[in-house]
């Protein structure tokens, strides 16, 4: 008769591994979640109709599900608004969990092309949002062609690049970094 009972869900070593991985990447409070859903109720990603919003991702990760969410776009749709972190009654900091997941995905090279482009221009110019037409745009309103950022100071750009080479961006090898 005992054989007919449903198998209880037991966290295997692998499942624990997923939670630990998220904690190591900055989502330290993930296991405080009680799935109350307040984060989902405030989440623009959920409201816009993405299927894997904060609450669901946290649930899946807590169960040790990893492969199935490697390629879903939802984690990259997070606007970083942090309304979830503000409202969470358990201090889970869902934003931190989503971003920890992004860091895990980056190590798996499961990353959207636009993110790659932002990283490339950050390394190349010091600006993640870069527009080739900026000198004309600036002239139009009567400002100097170059803003006083890395764009006007080559030494500062060199310094920023050296710093970026000290980070994990260099290890994961997403973009060329001479």
């Amino acid at each position: 008769m005992d054989d007919d009972l449903p198998t209880p869900v037991i966290l295997t070593e692998l499942e624990k591994g997923v939670i630990e991985e998220i904690k190591e990447h900055g989502g330290e409070n993930i296991d405080r979640c009680i799935q109350c859903g307040k984060c989902a109720g405030t989440c623009p990603v959920a409201l816009a109709g993405f299927p894997w919003f904060n609450k669901r991702l946290i649930h899946a990760l807590g169960l040790g599900i990893r492969e199935e969410i490697l390629d879903v776009p939802s984690p990259w749709a997070c606007v970083s608004c942090n309304k979830c972190t503000e409202i969470c009654p358990r201090d889970v900091k869902p934003f931190e969990v989503i971003f920890a997941l992004r860091r895990v995905l980056v190590e798996e090279l499961a990353i959207p092309t636009l993110t790659m482009e932002g990283l490339r221009t950050l390394y190349e110019y010091g600006h993640a949002v870069y527009q080739t037409t900026y000198p004309e745009t600036r002239k139009k309103v009567g400002l100097p062609e170059k803003p006083p950022t890395t764009l006007a100071y080559p030494e500062a750009l060199k310094e920023l690049r050296a710093l970026l080479r000290e980070t994990k961006l260099d290890e994961v090898g997403l973009i060329p970094m001479e």
Binding site: L47, A48, F50, A77, A156, T167
Partner: protein, 297 residues
């Protein structure tokens, strides 16, 4: 009063009219702005924050080091920059492991993060440091008869834990409303006041979903308060509103246009700046509203 002007990316490269407005209003109100030469992207959410926690903090800390060297606090009016810089500062202040790792990395380029410069939002500086009275007595044009929908922007509000300046209740923001009221406008509450504009990662991941979210909000604004103007404290919201109203109108999904200005641009106009220089790059034309403000109609 003296602040280091942190420009970020969107303001100097896409909306330098807002940069012009920044450089116009603060000196007029007795605040000196100094450039943070060689600063970079904050870095924004889709870049280093998504790759490496300590690496995110390090790039951000390098920007703060430039302000520390000059002995000034940072002033920004971009929500993303304000959020990213404030969050990393908070992490470094409260997590010695991160701070040590950041300073190890910064050591390689001969820098050290000390934490002596605060990160301030320019709109908070107007509200708290300069004050409503000083603003009221400095303006040339008042906004009597004008109705404004305010868009404080997510990073003006949360997570409140990381910000130096906090709304009493971030779910019921008052600061931008009080600023607009101080210069004569009406700025009523509306039901979607703290809703996200739908830009950032959401827009770059799925433009249609982003537009749908924005459409929901702009329609509620139109229906509930029918404003002359949207006023925001975030440059990312500015880009989303200004560009998306135009797109939705052209697609026939809305049958109205409401222009959007950053509060800094609006104040520049009220202080007498040349509208072409401080708001000339808007695509959803604010010309009519500006004429009304300047008493030209």
């Amino acid at each position: 009063m003296r602040f280091g002007l942190f420009l970020g990316c969107n303001i100097p490269l896409r909306r330098p009219d807002l940069e012009y407005a920044l450089r116009y209003i603060y000196p007029k109100l007795g605040v000196e702005l100094v450039d943070l030469e060689g600063a970079s992207c904050c870095p924004t959410w889709g870049t280093m924050p998504s790759v490496d926690l300590a690496g995110w903090c390090a790039v951000s800390a390098r920007n703060m080091c430039i302000a520390e060297e000059k002995g000034v606090d940072i002033l920004t009016v971009c929500g993303s920059c304000y959020g990213s810089l404030s969050e990393t500062r908070h992490k470094m202040l409260h997590n010695p492991e991160i701070r040590d790792e950041v300073n190890r990395m910064l050591g390689k380029i001969g820098r050290e993060w000390k934490g002596t410069s605060q990160v301030r939002h320019g709109v908070w500086v107007l509200y708290k440091d300069i004050g409503l009275d000083k603003i009221k007595e400095s303006i040339k044009y008042r906004l009597d008869g004008l109705t404004i929908a305010v868009q404080p922007g997510c990073h003006f509000l949360w997570p409140s834990e990381v910000y130096v300046d906090k709304e009493k209740n971030p779910f019921r923001p008052r600061v931008l409303i009080e600023l607009c009221e101080a210069i004569g406008a009406e700025a009523p509450d509306f039901s979607t006041i703290t809703d996200c504009c739908g830009t950032g990662g959401l827009r770059s991941t799925n433009l249609e979903k982003s537009l749908k979210l924005f459409e929901r909000k702009i329609k509620s604004i139109k229906e509930e308060i029918d404003p002359d103007l949207v006023v925001t404290s975030c440059s990312s919201c500015l880009l989303q509103y200004d560009g998306s109203v135009k797109i939705l109108k052209e697609k026939g999904r809305i049958n109205f246009e409401i222009p959007t200005l950053h509060f800094v641009q609006l104040l520049a106009i009220c202080l007498g700046a040349n509208p072409d220089q401080v708001a000339g790059l808007a695509v959803t034309g604010p010309e009519e509203v500006i004429k009304k403000i300047r008493g030209e109609v």
